[in-house]
Symmetry: C2
Subunit: 634 residues, 2 copies
């Protein structure tokens, strides 16, 4: 009973101020009801009312974006206790304070509350992003056109103070670099300037009125592919999108190979960093050219990626990530600038880097969770980012658990005999109806290999039609001939291994595109790993597969997966198919959302506190459950 929280409980509430930091475990939750629309939301105790509203698409007036400076986010606490905060007395009279009026950005919800939100004075812009999320536009990057009084002997305010006084509702800090040019900029522009503020920093003071031009770039740094989206922060709309292969590829296809490279050669970390910077720089140049935007007009970048990619791009030694106990350098990055990423946009543009939950549940997954709204939704949902390392999250606004399952490279078809990347000629879909087999091939050319989604389809169809049994073995020839006389000739041998030919090139099975017994085994390992992951999370949460309202398949691979096949091989729980959603690149959506709203970023950090990470490698029950999951369902 001597914990800080227990002690606070002894103190009369009126004298404990509103700025006590939230407990870090995110375990306590509170319920907020917003009037007049009646929306009911649950958030971790200590969340500012302003953020709780933002995260749920409820707009409250604000020009400073929730920094306690504009004093416009006035709400009334109708029920529940919110102590008077440090800024409130400057915004309200004593009568108003006693009547429950508070600034929403400074009112931390530490108990259930009913909040009255006055009608909006200005209509905030919003954008749709992620899985149907309504994001209220509150970019960290703000511009203000200022026509300032010129200095005189009666008004000797410093150049910086003059600009800050002009900003009124914002109170940013300036850097030495900005100060170097501030004096001449102000005088050359006759004190008619535009201040550019990002979060709490005065990024620039530009001559004249430049308020119409305000951009950011959202990066999704994948191990394989890097995607950049140039966003117009005035409208919230993407202006240009570019993607390219990560130039780190020559150092290995997956994160482990790249980490190994840094351990074998101490120059490699620098080279990998350089390759990542080149990738980001090229994409930046491309999207700026396509969008007809000057790089200098890009005032911020947001970045998500797995922990290894982020540590490599920032030049942080990744070695501890590669071996037990899998320790990250930090969950939340210190301030990073766009130039730290090799990105030449505005020279003082900061970079928002998504925080990570653990070595194998990185910022890409936090971004994905943000985009799905998993931690805000009442429904119990299962999020799976399918890949070499598959990340899994399960929960609702009550509680969310996450874990990482080492699925191996099957989904990327790397160790598959006829495996290939999802490129022209890859079989990406397989359908067996009766005795006929139909292939879906990328670019509609003659098949040359099979990619991850094709592999899942092929195995799922063969299991479904009985040519693979539930233990994963190809049927004996005689049984197969009886079951599917039209297909049984495809079941043949290459060397000592049984294979199923998907596409013949002439009569030699070895030159055909086929699925081998070992390929099936690889997939079984991969799907068992994932299924074990979500089953362990279900056990921890005390729920069963039938309680899941929705499954979200994310990642570039998840987007192409056939829900039916995923169910048939047991990769996901056996739900009605409309409940299994291929959600696409959720990480990239999360990065965009972060650029569009500084309050959503606050949610990214809240996700870090709220979501409980479950480490699989330390668990006694993992192996048993894994062996159970190797079999196909049915």
């Amino acid at each position: 009973m001597s914990s800080p929280l227990a002690r606070i409980a002894q103190v009369p509430p009126a004298i404990v101020d509103a700025e006590l930091p939230a407990p870090d475990d995110g375990s306590q939750r509170v319920r907020l009801r917003f009037l007049p629309d009646g929306a009911d939301v649950r958030v971790p105790s200590g969340t500012p009312v302003f953020d709780a509203a933002s995260w749920n698409g409820i707009a409250i007036d604000s020009t400073c974006g929730g920094h306690g400076t504009c004093k416009k986010c006035k709400v009334r606490v109708v029920s529940g206790d919110v102590p008077v905060g440090s800024v409130d007395p400057r915004a309200f009279t004593a009568e108003e304070l006693l009547d429950g009026w508070r600034l929403a950005c400074r009112a931390n919800a530490r108990g259930d509350l009913v909040i009255e939100v006055p009608p909006l004075q200005t209509r905030p812009k919003a954008a749709l992003a992620g899985v149907g999320r309504h994001v209220i536009l509150r970019p960290a990057v703000q511009k203000r056109h200022l026509v300032l009084a010129e200095p005189s002997l009666e008004d000797q305010r410093s150049d910086l103070q003059r600009v800050l006084d002009g900003l009124e509702d914002l109170e940013p800090k300036a850097s030495l670099e900005l100060l170097r040019s501030l004096g001449s900029t102000l005088r050359e522009a006759a004190f008619d300037v535009t201040a550019v503020v990002c979060d709490e920093e005065l990024i620039d003071v530009e001559p004249g009125d430049t308020t119409a031009r305000r951009y950011a770039i959202a990066f999704d740094v994948g191990t394989t592919t890097v995607v950049a989206t140039l966003l117009d922060l005035e409208s919230g709309q993407p202006v240009a999108v570019g993607s390219m292969l990560n130039r780190q590829q020559p150092y290995g296809a997956d994160v482990i190979t790249r980490i190994s490279a840094t351990m074998l050669d101490h120059e490699a970390l620098g080279e990998l960093r350089e390759r990542a910077h080149e990738t980001l720089a090229q994409l930046t140049a491309e999207v700026c050219a396509e969008g007809e935007v000057e790089p200098r007009e890009v005032y911020e970048v947001t970045v998500c990626g797995n922990v290894t990619m982020i540590q490599l791009v920032l030049g942080i030694d990744p070695e501890p990530l590669s071996m037990a106990p899998f320790v990250v350098s930090t969950h939340s990055m210190p301030p990073v600038s766009a130039s730290d990423l090799g990105v030449e946009v505005h020279p003082r543009a900061p970079a928002f880097v998504f925080p990570s939950l653990g070595a194998y549940v990185g910022g890409d997954i936090v971004a994905g969770l943000l985009a799905t709204g998993l931690t805000r939704d009442r429904r119990l949902r299962l999020f799976i980012d399918v890949g070499t390392n598959s990340e899994i999250a399960l929960g609702s606004n009550e509680r969310v658990l996450a874990t990482a399952a080492p699925a191996g490279p099957a989904f990327e078809a790397a160790q598959i005999k006829c495996g290939m990347r999802a490129a022209d000629g890859a079989i990406e879909g397989v359908k067996i109806e009766g005795d006929s087999l139909a292939l879906q091939v990328i670019a509609d050319v003659e098949p040359v290999g099979i990619c991850g989604s094709g592999l899942v389809d092929a195995v799922a169809e063969l299991v479904h039609c009985g040519l693979i049994d539930h233990s994963g073995r190809f049927m004996a020839e005689d049984v197969a001939a009886e079951l599917h006389p039209g297909l049984s000739s495809r079941l043949t041998m290459i060397g000592k291994e049984r294979v199923f030919v998907l596409h013949w090139h002439g009569e030699d099975p070895e030159s055909s595109v086929y699925l081998s017994q070992r390929d099936v085994r690889e997939l079984q390992f991969a799907k068992a790993s994932i299924a074990t992951g979500w089953r362990i999370l279900m056990g921890e949460l005390g729920v069963g597969p039938k309680d899941v309202a929705q499954v979200l398949l994310a990642g570039s691979f998840g987007a192409y997966l056939t829900p039916l096949s995923a169910v048939r091989i047991g990769l996901v729980p056996d739900l009605a198919l409309p409940r299994i959603v291929s959600a696409g690149n959720m990480a990239g959506e999360g990065a965009k959302i972060a650029a569009l709203s500084s309050r959503e970023r606050a949610e990214a950090h809240s996700i870090l506190r709220e979501v409980e990470y479950v480490e699989l490698s330390g668990r006694a029950d993992f192996n048993d459950m894994f062996i159970d999951q190797l079999a196909f369902p049915g």
Copy 2:
């Protein structure tokens, strides 16, 4: 009555929290009495009790240095109101809170208080600095030896979190650069490391126990001379001192010439910056070598200088400083690192740069005021830093005013016929007794010129013995011959100008060292400017010369001035000579104090708020008063 302060007054005190920022004008003052020793101090309203105590040499337990994290600075408010702050409930029980216990670093004094300070648990070290100031050692740079648990699957805290958890009473932030090497440092040192924290930043994590080695360098960047003091932060003692001419000299002897250089040639700003960096780098190398300290063991630098020097060393365009309305870029610098000054010490060492009051009352004067304790002392004191630009401050702990008087180059003897810098052969003292004239010459060689203090002495003595009248004119030959027959031959003509020969080289007056009528006029202008300055401040404060308890003559020139001569020419008020103190290089002392105590730095910023700057160039009464002051007293 709608000002923020008026509104706060309406709110019941218990619900206004303790962290409301202080009003910026520094106009309200409160009285604090510390028990058991009974010390009575006056500070601006809003000052933390911890700082008020520190500034007055009263020690309160603390290991975090006043950041609200160690929770050791417990005091009891015996009389007066201090609302419970945000951290208090974590340090005290409800009973203790009701009994008046508060953390001194979070208890802002907004009214008169009586504070009980418990006996110290640890004996804090202290150092003497400035004008007899007792500085309690609380360097911003702190070290902690940490023996950390190694990570395991049960303890996957991030590397950074592990270090932060080990710090307990400190909660610093880390930079990206530190993170890059943190993982390998921890593992190579088997998690036995020393954390180096400066203020709120984790500067480094070093292998093993390095707590015994902790250094800082205090720089005083003068227009002419730059001084560096290497300080051992463990003992508070200087280890080595170095000084050299500012390498910017070729660009002009004074600030105006150097600013002009930047206006004529846009490369000059970069070159001046480079020259300043070279100067600081050379001094750094010298003091580190002399003190046998590795540059990497210097974790912080403190810097004071006039505004032009500071802007030049940081590469900030100084042009607006050189013309009315004399506007500074900023009063308080944004975060600056030692490397921004070209100083190669620890790569992440920050630089504390003294804030400035105005374009001509710079950080050197704020440092000087800190060293003298002018704003804390009950006595009314007059501080004059004599130079081309002379800074003047007058006041006590009740109120302090400051101004800058453009004295011209007389004191640096630049426009004086036989003027020279205070170097070998310079006449630095003159004494006339009866008919005999005695010279004091630097290095006891034959005189070759006259420096500032010699000029003041010569004029003062000639006024005193009647060879110069009160209007500043040399006496007519006949009157002189009557008054001082033994000296009158020295009064002669060179061309059309009357001169007084101080030292003959042969018989030709032109090759002698002499004082010309125009030299006397130059000095009259200079001293009238300064005397007008302090008289205007006295008028504003409603005091007279006789109310002044002490005059502090600061600056490298002030240190050599003879108090008697200063009185005789009317440069300072006519007080008993022991009250006129040549205080020496107060700016340098202030820079040292800032390195020794982070709380004293807080006072430097408080000085900025408290001291009222009076601009002379805008005043109608300046010219009248200036003309009155041209005459010599008597």
